[in-house]
């Protein structure tokens, strides 16, 4: 039995990738694995098990010669663990049982490859080397009946491609995970909610507002209202590319949702032109507190919160803001 990875990362990954019974069935179907293959696999099982150690060596020898796998090979701890897992894989390859446990085993090794940054082409190259060696051995076993030998090899290849499919999917998935995280980070940066005074949030919206972004903005704002206990939000739309009725509705929804949480929203940066055209389109702007520019909006917000402006006695000095 392969030693289970302590962290349970493989089962979690399996859930994340939605590899369930149905998915495994589809994978089997994809490579054409069927009942007829089982007796053939059983016939070569002993051979595979006997030679598992050699095959493992071949695999890693091949990798050792590849530039693309240099970083992977360099870490002896990684390679040691990978060897153990690979050996276990080979022992199971002709077992005839290709269900969840089998797949989980593949995922565990694939995760190791992904975390080590092993290039897919390096992996494929080594795997191919391995497959070749197995093919030669099988043909030898069936020396007297080459066609049979070929058929047995074909059955093994189906399992091999089942394995490759799973492993490559993991490599892709993990790579995409990084991209997803970066996207999230970019999205968060692009819709910042700033606390500029106690109970006062500033939400400058810049760029294109589509349904998805509007949702992110709203969710972010509502969370911020709760965590900052904000009473007033100044939502500045000066930087919004186009404000058509759809965008306006999104903004209205944001305002309404904020209000449900007890926060008053002041919308700034809405030009008179845009405001007029929105009203003409039937958008209810009367319920929204709009102030021309950001400066004005901030002043109104501060007033709402009870801040007052005191002129200082020193001539020529600018007014000091005080609570």
């Amino acid at each position: 039995m392969a030693d289970r990875d302590p962290g349970g990362a493989a089962p979690a990954l399996m859930r994340e990738m939605r590899i369930d019974a149905g998915d495994i069935e589809r994978r089997s179907k994809a490579v054409g694995l069927e009942a007829a293959d089982l007796p053939r696999l059983a016939a070569i099982k002993d051979l595979v098990v006997r030679r598992a150690g050699d095959y493992t060596n071949l695999f890693f020898e091949h990798l050792a010669n590849l530039e693309d796998a240099r970083a992977f090979i360099a870490s002896s701890a990684l390679v040691d663990r990978a060897r153990k897992l690979k050996n276990a894989h080979l022992l199971e390859m002709a077992s005839g049982d290709y269900g969840a446990r089998y797949v989980e085993q593949r995922l565990e090794l694939a995760l190791l490859y992904a975390n080590a940054g092993l290039e897919p082409r390096a992996f494929l190259g080594a795997f191919h080397r391995l497959l070749n060696a197995m093919g030669i051995d099988i043909v030898k076993q069936f020396e007297r009946a080459p066609l049979e030998g070929f058929e047995h090899f074909m059955s093994l290849k189906k399992v091999a491609f089942f394995d490759i499919g799973a492993i490559v999917d993991v490599l892709i998935f993990e790579r995409e995970r990084i991209i997803r995280q970066q996207h999230e980070a970019i999205r968060e940066l692009s819709t910042p909610v700033l606390q500029i005074r106690e109970r006062l949030l500033l939400l400058p919206i810049i760029g294109v507002i589509d349904t998805h972004r509007a949702r992110l903005v709203t969710e972010g704002l509502l969370q911020a209202i709760r965590s900052n206990r904000a009473k007033v939000v100044v939502m500045d739309v000066t930087g919004v590319a186009t404000i058509d009725s759809k965008v306006a509705n999104h903004l209205l929804q944001t305002v309404t949702a904020a209000r449900l949480m007890g926060a008053h929203v002041i919308v700034t940066g809405l030009s008179a032109d845009v405001a007029q055209s929105l009203v003409a389109l039937g958008i209810e702007l009367s319920k929204v507190n709009t102030v021309g520019d950001l400066q004005g909006g901030l002043e109104e917000a501060e007033q709402l919160l009870g801040y007052r402006v005191h002129p200082v006695d020193v001539p020529g000095a600018s007014p000091v803001r005080g609570a």
Partner: protein, 146 residues
């Protein structure tokens, strides 16, 4: 079957969960079940609330206008995504003017007759068939965002 199809650790959503809707207390049950399943499938907290809300509206319609009915929840797959489909069936009087019932009151002041149009707005897919004197079937689906 010769393959082992019981994934250890994978999320298994029981296929087709049914909740009978007869009393107004069943609305809460339906809502909670919907949220539970949505959670199991992996929907975000926000989407779970939205789904629960849509279910509440549809279930309430059944209680208000039909003698009895029920909701069936199913995990569905399509285009590489997973989703939750809810089929609400009742054997009530049916809806005579579907167009009127579905009129979107979004920009108008009387926003509280929301039931059907509201649910349609928040779900990804929405279908309604009704036969006067026989009953109504609403099928709605929400897909997991990737």
């Amino acid at each position: 079957m010769f393959f082992d199809h019981s994934p250890r650790g994978a999320t298994v959503v029981p296929s087709d969960v049914y909740v009978r809707i007869e009393h107004e207390s069943d609305i809460v049950t339906a809502r909670q079940k919907g949220r539970e399943l949505a959670n199991a499938i992996g929907f975000s907290s926000t989407d779970q609330t939205i789904i629960a809300l849509a279910i509440s509206e549809i279930a309430r319609n059944i209680v208000s206008y039909a003698q009895r009915g029920g909701l069936t929840f199913s995990l569905v797959e399509g285009g590489g995504r997973h989703g939750l489909t809810i089929v609400a069936r009742d054997d009530g009087p049916g809806i005579a003017d579907i167009e009127l019932a579905m009129r979107d009151g979004y920009s108008s002041a009387r926003s509280l007759g929301v039931g059907l149009p509201g649910a349609k707005r928040v779900m990804d897919e929405f279908d309604l068939t009704s036969i006067v004197g026989q009953g109504t079937t609403v099928t709605m689906t929400k897909w997991l965002r990737r």
